[in-house]
Amino acid sequence: MEEKSARRSFLLSKGWLQAVIIVMLLGFTVLGILALRTYQEGAPVPVKIVDPNGDLVFDGDDVSAGQQVFLHNGLMEYGSIFGHGAYLGPDYTADYLRRSSNISIAEKGGPPVDKDGMEIEDPDPSPMPSADVARQETINEFRRNQFDEESGTLTFTRSQAEAFERLIPYYTRFFSADNTENGLRKEAITDPEDLRNLTAFFAWTAWAAAAERPGKDYSYTNNWPPEPRVDNKPTANALVWSAISLVALLGGIGLLFGAFGRYRDLGWHGREQTVVSFRDPSKVTLTPGQKSTAWFFFVMAALFLIQCFVGAAVQHYRAELTSFFGFDLAAILPYNLLRTWHVQLSIFWVATSFVAAGIFLAPMIARREPKGQGKLGYFLLVALAIVVFGTLIGSYLGIHGVIADAATNWFGLQGFEYLDLARFWQVLLVVGLLVWVYMLFRVMRSRLRREHPGNMPWLFFLAACAIPAFYAVGLLARTSEDFTITEFWRFWVVHLWVEDFLEIFTTVMVAYMFVLLGVVRERVALMVILLDIGLYSVGGVVGTMHHLYFSGTPAEHMALGAFFSAIEVVPLTFLTVEAWSFLQLGANQEAKSDAAFPHRWAVMFLVAVGFWNFLGAGVFGFLVNLPIVSYFEIGTALTANHAHAAMMGVYGMLAIGLALFCLRYMIPSKKWPEKWAKVSFWGTNLGLAWMCFATLLPLGIMQLYKSVNDGYFEARQLDFLTDKTTEMIEWLRLPGDLIFIVFGAIPVLWMTFLGVKYTLIRSREGGGGDDEAGADLFTVVSGTSLEDEPPEFQSRTDPTPGT
């Protein structure tokens, strides 16, 4: 960009920017190559599947149609495919593989099976010499890849074709059952065509799970799921890259701490702080845009509470499947409907808080707000509400079968876990986020013009742009596309959002808050932000592939994913131990300020974010990250453990912290609900920790043990979940959930209500305090400058705030 003389120059040496840009470019180049490889080498969907006589068993369109039946009925929020999805139902890849291989073995003279394809318990297990032969033949047949790439024809063996025909009735019985015993609605799927296609989809995933890649001795899914009947066991790659990534992690941590131990003084520490005095927050005038955020936070808290209640009901299905305290809940709100609501709401309420905090901070950064921002704010809020309730209602209609096919794809649900919402709502959400970016832009425009694109205002704006940009990538996942490819794009959103761009936007916002409060120098904050972007992106970008070890993507996805995502843990450790504590330093009482630091609980929530980043993302994330662990673990309670600790712990706590920061300016100091803030802090944190440690972690460990010992299929069975000890563990979480809701979520709702109330009162009274937009949040008591740039640039800068 052309450097105008009016532009403030970059506060650091150029090397910082170059390093960050190179890291990003390299990361996305690799990811781009992997995208290409996914299209080239992803598990192929054959044009047609024939039996040995050449008669059609099913074709590629059936698989695609079956995939859509699966997604549009919300089954990915019930069970899983390739290990990804919900955990109450079975993994259908493993399920079909088990049943079809059993049928094949029985047919070749092995142990007999029932009509569901499960082995009949033999009262007299006398050795059957024919059984070993049958087993070996089944292994050979399932592993031999009979797919002809030229013609796109896959030839099933006789017993594979037979298994398919025999399993259609089984899945028909399961999905069209006239009761809600499985947690699905009654007669969830009844159309014979749909049921056949659904079975074809399962059959295809199971085929890809066992058939060896051309020229390789492992299957398209790197031999996942573990299944002795088809000789699926961990590949050499899985072992080797597990070991390498472990070393990478330890080495990375060592290097980083070594480096910082040696060059402790990056320039951020040891320098005496300028002493500032904090403005009384309620004396800070709020712009119309900022006032509109009161409603955003109220909506956020309401969605949060709803999510909690929905979550409690989801949990109840696990503890007591067949009834809800004697009431047939599944008739109205089947498990998969509640699960998709739960997951979607978690994203919605966190996003609402981020959006609001952005709108709130922008005028403070730009020190102005153009007319009409308040109206735009309310418009955006209404648009978001439409998306949220449209999504919730749409998924209700879709899962209950009120709308179907194209209608459900556009207005019901697409059904990809985490991107469940229908396409129309998805597009609308992207548009809404773009409106948000536009809102930030119109506020920041003149400020941006005067700044070097590497400085904080730009980073704030660019980090905000990345949020809709990467959400929009989700549009590439179409329900009609091959599953391997949809999974690839889906995880760009799921992973890159939470493990890269949201972390970055978070750091920028938090750093900016401290700069605005005058407790951290801009130069130092910029250094932390760039360091953070660099560190997160080194591992986080390519690390996306840790979700795609077994989804039909080639082995290099696993290798690179394992390696780079292990490196991701390094910044988490580092930031927790070092940089976060540095940011908090700003808020300490050394300064002889005569007004108390106003953001006690916002900062404490940030402390909690640091803690959960370390425990939930770093420790629990790494616990399931090694390919060899993931191989047995994927789709079990250990994933839920990680997901809750990371998603609620990091982004949930952050959303609440941001809300408290902004609310502090809306609620008069005299009325500030200090006690409620404290209660919600302890309530959310203790509740979440209890949930993880009382139930999710121990259950996950037991399930992993079961998976390694008895088999993955067994570990995912409902009767494992309803075993006596596991049921006790499921009940143990109850006190934690109660604490979380009563002392966590409800106080947050109350505080946001106060925000709305006092904003309304203040508007009616016609403001208060000064009338200049985005007035300073502090005044300098001693010290000369907050922007310690080299003196030669001083003359060109804007008047420094507060001096």
Partner: protein
């Protein structure tokens, strides 16, 4: 003895271990950030003064009771003439270093970590009790009771310490340092 008893006992032990690790990590972070704040300065605990990297000594200047910290200051004349001043301080009154007894938010972050540790231990007690109610044979009790006793003792000790530790949040009223010593 059922598997549940062994598992329950092992997991409770794991929770107790987790609490201990958390305590340790929390203290470690606290110390590290403390060290960062004063990096470049060496503290002489015996004589209670600091030496900066240019060799100037900083002596106690005041004790801030409300904020529970000691401020140490270098001689203004020396600092103002110091070539490293730009990277060190904006103040013309001489560089200041503080030693806080328990600075916020680390004090409160410490309480937070302690709170989580207490929760882990209480959870261990709760879980052991539930298992104990469900498995009441002599052998079960022999395994579970000692761990339960240990957990209860830990819970009591940690919780008592938590209650006694102040949050250290600086009070709203302005602080007035008491001058001590001379400059």
């Amino acid at each position: 003895m059922s598997a549940e008893v062994l598992l329950g006992a092992a997991y409770a032990a794991l929770l107790l271990g987790g609490a201990v690790v958390l305590e340790w990590l929390s203290r470690h972070t606290h110390n590290r950030s403390q060290a960062y704040r004063t990096s470049g300065f060496d503290y002489d605990a015996q004589h209670d003064f600091w030496v900066c990297h240019q060799g100037e000594q900083l002596w106690p200047a005041e004790f801030d009771r409300e904020r529970r910290l000691v401020r140490y200051r270098a001689r203004a004349a020396v600092c103002n003439a110091c070539p490293a001043k730009r990277d060190c301080t904006d103040s013309t009154g001489g560089r200041e270093v503080t030693r806080a007894v328990d600075p916020w938010p680390h004090s409160e972050a410490g309480r937070f970590h302690r709170g989580i540790a207490v929760m882990l231990v209480v959870l261990a007690c709760f879980e052991l009790s539930v298992v104990l109610v469900r498995n009441r044979e002599a052998a079960d009790i022999a395994v579970l009771a000692p761990i339960l006793a240990l957990a209860a003792a830990m819970a009591w000790w940690l919780a008592r310490d938590l209650v006694r530790t102040p949050s250290g949040f600086p009070d709203v009223k302005p602080a007035h340092g008491n001058r001590i010593g001379s400059e």
